[in-house]
Every structure is written in structure tokens, then in C-alpha cells.
């Protein structure tokens, strides 16, 4: 269940991204491109932030001796919107001086703070997983429930459709679906499009499993009992059959979230997902494609570490939930 704890922390961070991030995701500081991470030092009871200045070569920085600024907490900074609608200017930490920046994870090519972008990116990358799962599992459960409950030709048509979707290699399907959308879209549209594309691919597998479970559940006597009370087919599916699949669905959903997060990463990595200057873990990794960059500026891999931790946490949580839900295997 440690996975669950990590995920709660991650999602809380994503929720308060604007507050925790010292800068905005699109805060350019071209004087400071590929700036290495700056770590505040403890001096007495205060943290102080040392200052680097550009050196003689390109992207070479040298420490300016004795030029430090105290690190303030709850400092006034850029405007942002908390939870997307509460305007605020207070940030968790910062120096309060634009000429004396604090880059905990360094900067990228354009001198943007990697930590801030990572935090703003987590809003997108983490929420895509959850929303995508909600969408595709809801759809998959209803379709699978209908398919299994009515069986016959309804079942045949729906299942062949599922197989059709599942038989196309996912990556090609993603890219060809992407091409059905116009290339230039606002970031919100792109976000919605990614969710729709990933859900469109994801529902089929869910529908097949739910259909199988429904086939056995519909023979249960409580379904007959509900019918004998005059309950309608749709309500029997939604109220009586599907809730009995929840113990499986919750585990499956938890284990599937990583695929959605990785799906977004893939799309953004390929350049058809979230577009610059908006940040997502996928398009941040795009910057880390170059081996030369990797060698010299390893902090660009930070989103990779974030993805790694998230995916692992979801898998641990899923395994834990499965053990908790499955009383048969001890």
C-alpha cells in the first residue's frame, strides 16, 4: 500500500502545482539555458540560494562567491490560478528576486525551470490517466454489460467490433486517429483529444472482460429476482450486474492507469500530443532525446523519473488491491 501513499502525495502535488512551482511553466529566461540545478544551502536557521552566472563558454556557469539570497517561503511571485480558478500569487518558496533564480532541477534549453514544468506537467500527465480510465471503463462496462446480458446477435456484433479495435496495433491507431484531428488545436483541445484517443482504444479490452463476467452474473438468482419484480433490463445491468464486477474493475483500473499516462507520454514524445510551451512529462522528455544533452544535462531526465515512480506506484497499488480483493488466494 506504499504505492497508494506515494500516489496520494503525487496527486496532491499535481493539485497544488501552481503553488509549489516557483515559476510558470512558460517562464523563459534565455540567459540561463541549460542551467544546472541550484541547491539552497543551510546557513544558521535559513536556507540561502547561491548565484551562478554564465561563464565564458556556452552553457557554462560559475558560482559567484558570497552572492547569496535567503530562500523565502510563501513568497509573492507570478500570477497563477489555484485549482484552475482561484487567482493567487503566493508560491511555496522562492527568492523573490527575478535576477537571483532558484532552479532546484535546473533549466532546459530555453532557460525554463524544469521543476516548475514538471509540476505543471504532472497536472496534465496524472489527470489524463484518471480521466481516461473513468471514460473508457465506464464505456467498456456499459457496453460489456449490454453485450453479456443480452447475448445473441447483440453480443456478436459488439464483440467483433471490440476485436477489430484490439487487433489494430495501438500505436498506429493512435497516430492515425491523431491525424483525423486538425494539426493546430488549443492545448485544452489537444488534452481532450488525447483522452478521447486513449479511451477509444482502451474500452474494448474492458468490455470483453465485463461481458464475460456478465455472462455468469446474469444467471445468478438475484437477477431473476430483480426481473420478477419487474425491473427493466438496463437497470438490472447497471444496478445489479455491474456493481458485482467492481472488485475486479477497481483493480484492473488501477493497473491500467499507467498505460494511459504512458500513452500521453508516447503521443507527446512523438510531437502529436501536448504542444510547447505547455508542459507535459512526455513533451519534456522529447528534449532529452539527444545523447549529447543527456550526457551534459542529465537533469532533463527528471520527467522520466517522475513517470517511473508514478507507474511503479500504480502497479504496487494495483497489486495490493488485488490481494485485498481476492480472498481466494492467500
Amino acid at each position: 500500500m506504499a504505492g497508494g501513499g506515494i500516489l496520494i502525495v503525487l496527486y496532491l502535488i499535481a493539485l497544488f502545482a501552481g503553488f509549489i512551482a516557483p515559476y510558470r511553466f512558460d517562464d523563459l529566461n534565455t540567459d540561463y539555458s541549460f542551467h544546472p540545478p541550484i541547491w539552497p544551502k543551510l546557513q544558521g536557521f535559513h536556507f540561502v540560494v547561491p548565484r551562478y552566472e554564465p561563464g565564458s563558454g556556452t552553457f557554462v556557469y560559475r558560482l559567484v562567491p558570497n552572492d547569496t539570497k535567503p530562500l523565502h517561503f510563501f513568497v509573492h511571485g507570478d500570477n497563477y490560478k489555484l485549482f484552475g480558478f482561484i487567482p493567487a500569487t503566493i508560491h511555496l518558496f522562492g527568492t523573490g528576486d527575478p535576477h537571483h533564480p532558484v532552479y532546484l532541477l535546473g533549466t532546459d534549453q530555453f532557460g525554463r525551470d524544469v521543476l516548475s514544468r514538471l509540476l505543471y506537467g504532472s497536472e496534465i500527465s496524472l489527470s489524463i490517466g484518471i480521466i481516461g480510465i473513468l471514460l473508457s471503463f465506464t464505456f467498456g462496462m456499459i457496453i460489456g454489460g449490454i453485450s453479456g446480458y443480452f447475448s445473441g446477435w447483440t453480443d456478436t456484433i459488439i464483440m467483433r467490433l471490440c476485436e477489430l479495435i484490439m487487433s489494430i496495433p495501438a500505436l498506429y491507431l493512435i497516430i492515425s486517429l491523431r491525424n483525423t484531428f486538425p494539426p493546430s488545436m488549443s492545448s485544452t483541445q489537444v488534452y481532450a483529444m488525447i483522452i478521447i484517443i486513449l479511451s477509444f482504444i482502451g474500452w474494448a479490452g474492458m468490455a470483453r472482460v465485463i461481458r464475460g463476467m456478465t455472462l455468469s452474473l446474469r444467471e445468478q438468482q438475484f437477477v431473476l429476482a430483480a426481473r420478477s419484480l419487474g425491473q427493466s433490463h438496463l437497470k438490472i445491468i447497471v444496478r445489479h450486474i455491474l456493481p458485482n464486477t467492481f472488485s475486479y474493475v477497481i483493480v484492473a483500473a488501477t493497473l491500467s492507469v499507467p498505460y494511459y499516462i504512458l500513452g500521453e507520454v508516447v503521443l507527446s514524445f512523438l510531437g502529436v500530443g501536448i504542444q510547447e510551451p505547455n508542459a507535459s512529462w512526455g513533451n519534456m522528455l522529447t528534449a532529452a532525446q539527444n545523447t549529447e544533452y543527456l550526457q551534459n544535462y542529465p537533469w532533463l531526465l527528471a520527467p522520466g523519473a517522475a513517470i517511473f515512480i508514478t507507474v511503479l506506484a500504480f502497479n504496487f497499488l494495483g497489486d495490493g488491491l488485488r490481494d485485498a480483493a481476492d480472498t481466494k488466494s492467500l
Binding site: Q221, F222, S228, G230, P243
Partner: protein, 320 residues
């Protein structure tokens, strides 16, 4: 007019060449407030006959090939889906054999009763009514039971909840399909007592399916004995128990263990119930019948009224 009138009901499982006749020419009636017992061995068609009243047997595989089921004078087999949903619960309610399996394991019992109320008496879908129903079926501390899940209740309590669900819609006819088979004997007696008490109080008719002849004597006004998809004998309960006429009924009665007497072995009917689709020609009981004659295998005997209210499907009923 009778509440329920089943006339020459014929139902097949499967179609054309593969059709297996599960119900063959079954007719009986239930008057308002009457208790009728349907007795017979496993697989003789009791349950499908009972489910047919609400047209609850899935079609396909079932096909109704003849006859009619008149509920309040309307043929159930001709009804639209909306009409069917109205009579299910509204006119006829069911209580099934396995109370544990009939309740949805993931819902609190209060909500399951509420579902029944919402469907048929939406104005009464409140906690007071649910508590009243639970009290009616004799559940102690109903206020706290409302929030229990089915698995937190004992088998007897679960069956009482099922009965409360069935009664919630105030049906005219309660079909109880072996309601006590899964319960132990003391609980069995309590549930049966509850059913007869409710029947008195609410004035509803009961169709009780059982293979326990002991129950018949306690509960039934009339009895229909089924064998291999047909009614073998139909008679007032007390008369049937006192003086069975059909050889099958006689054999059944003889196999009930007696408290007195010194028999070493229980008497059993020789042979097995013929498998559906594999019925012998003529009288289906003939191969196991002690009074069978060669002509018994020639044609299926008709159900004849031998005395007022007593019907027997055996031309030689006076023989033994």
C-alpha cells in the same frame, strides 16, 4: 373469475427437431386468496410452470407453443414488455429457493426492498414503509437491519427479506418456489407459518412449489401433482392426502417415511423420472407404474374429472 387460469399450456425448450417439451398441456386455476401447491420430483416442470406466470423463462430457448396463462383475465403470453413489467411484482411476486442467492450481495437489504417499492408503489419508497415491511415479516430490530448487507443475515432472515421484497409491491399472487428447501427444519416451519399468516392478513393467493408432502397438508387448499411436464392429479389437499387416486400420487405417498410401523426400508418408486425429450410413449408413468397395462403405452391419457374437483390422468385409477 379466477385470479390465475392456466389453460393447456405447452412450452418447448429449443425449436423444430431439437425441441424438448418441458410443459405439456398443463392446466390449473388459482382463485383469489387460495393456496395451491405444485408437487413433483425434480425436473418435472414445476419451476418453469411457475416462472411462466410472469413470463420469466427466457425466450429463446423457451417457446410457448400453445395454451394461455390468464392473469386477471389477461393472457400473459400475449403481453408487451411494459405490461409484463407491470404485472411482475404488481400482480405476481416471487420468492425463490436460495434466499442467499436471490439477494444482491452488494446492496443493503433496505435498498433492495426500496427498489421493489420504487417500481410499484413509488409514493411509499421511504424508510418507514421498509421498516413496516420488515416488521411484517417478523424481523427483529428492523431499524438497524435496513443497513445490513445480505451476508450479515442468517438464511431464515434472508428469506424473510425476500418475502418482504415480494410483498412490498402488494401482489395478488405470491409464487413461492421451494421457499424452505435451503433452510433447516425449524426455520422452515417459521417461514411457512409466516406465509400462511401473511396470506390470512393480506388476502393474497399463494402458489407454493414443493416436493415436501408434509408442507402440502399444512398449507394447501388444493394440490397439483406434476410428473414429466404434465399434471398427474389435481385435487383438494386434504382429500388428496387422505385418498390419492393416481398411481403416481399413491407411490409418492407411500415413500413418505412413517413415524409408526416397523418397515426396515423406505419404499421407493422403482426406476427414474424419464429425461425430458426421452419420454416413453403413452402414459409417461407407465414404466414405473404397478398397475400398468399394455394399453397404457399406446396413447397419452387425458386428465379426467373423476369426482367434483378431482382430476386424474389415469383411466385405471380405480384399479388398485
Amino acid at each position: 373469475m379466477n385470479l390465475l387460469e392456466i389453460k393447456n399450456l405447452k412450452m418447448d425448450f429449443g425449436k423444430n427437431a431439437g425441441a424438448l417439451r418441458a410443459i405439456d398441456d398443463v392446466s390449473f386455476t388459482i382463485g383469489a386468496g387460495e393456496t395451491v401447491c405444485l408437487v413433483g420430483e425434480s425436473g418435472c416442470g414445476k419451476t418453469v410452470t411457475a416462472l411462466s406466470i410472469g413470463k420469466l423463462v427466457p425466450t429463446p430457448p423457451a417457446h410457448y407453443v400453445g395454451g394461455e396463462i390468464l392473469l386477471n383475465g389477461q393472457d400473459v403470453l400475449q403481453m408487451s414488455n411494459d405490461q409484463l413489467r407491470n404485472i411482475r411484482g404488481g400482480v405476481v411476486s416471487y420468492v425463490f429457493q436460495e434466499p442467499g442467492a436471490s439477494l444482491n450481495p452488494v446492496f443493503r437489504v433496505g435498498n433492495q426492498i426500496r427498489e421493489s417499492l420504487k417500481l410499484h408503489r413509488p409514493e411509499k419508497a421511504n424508510n418507514e414503509e421498509i421498516i413496516r415491511l420488515l416488521k411484517l415479516v417478523g424481523i427483529p430490530a428492523p431499524e438497524s437491519r435496513i443497513r445490513n448487507y445480505p451476508f450479515e443475515l442468517s438464511g431464515g432472515m434472508q428469506q424473510r427479506v425476500m418475502i418482504a421484497m415480494a410483498l412490498a409491491s402488494e401482489p395478488k399472487l405470491l409464487v413461492a418456489d421451494e421457499p424452505t428447501t435451503a433452510l433447516d427444519v425449524t426455520i422452515q416451519a417459521q417461514i411457512l407459518e409466516l406465509l400462511s399468516e401473511l396470506k390470512q392478513r393480506l388476502g393474497m393467493a399463494i402458489l407454493l412449489i414443493t416436493h415436501n408432502l408434509g408442507i402440502v397438508g399444512d398449507m394447501a387448499d388444493r394440490v397439483a401433482v406434476m410428473y414429466a411436464g404434465q399434471i398427474a392429479e389435481l385435487a383438494p389437499a386434504q382429500e388428496l392426502l387422505r385418498r390419492p387416486l393416481h398411481p403416481y400420487t399413491k407411490a409418492l405417498m407411500a415413500s413418505v417415511p412413517k413415524l409408526r410401523g416397523d418397515a426396515d426400508r423406505l419404499s421407493a418408486i422403482p426406476g427414474n423420472v424419464p429425461r425430458i425429450g426421452n419420454f416413453p410413449p403413452g402414459c409417461r408413468f407407465a414404466p414405473r407404474c404397478v398397475i400398468a397395462r399394455p394399453e397404457c403405452s399406446k396413447e397419452i391419457p387425458r386428465l379426467i374429472e373423476v369426482e367434483a374437483g378431482r382430476w386424474v390422468r389415469c383411466p385405471f385409477w380405480q384399479a388398485s
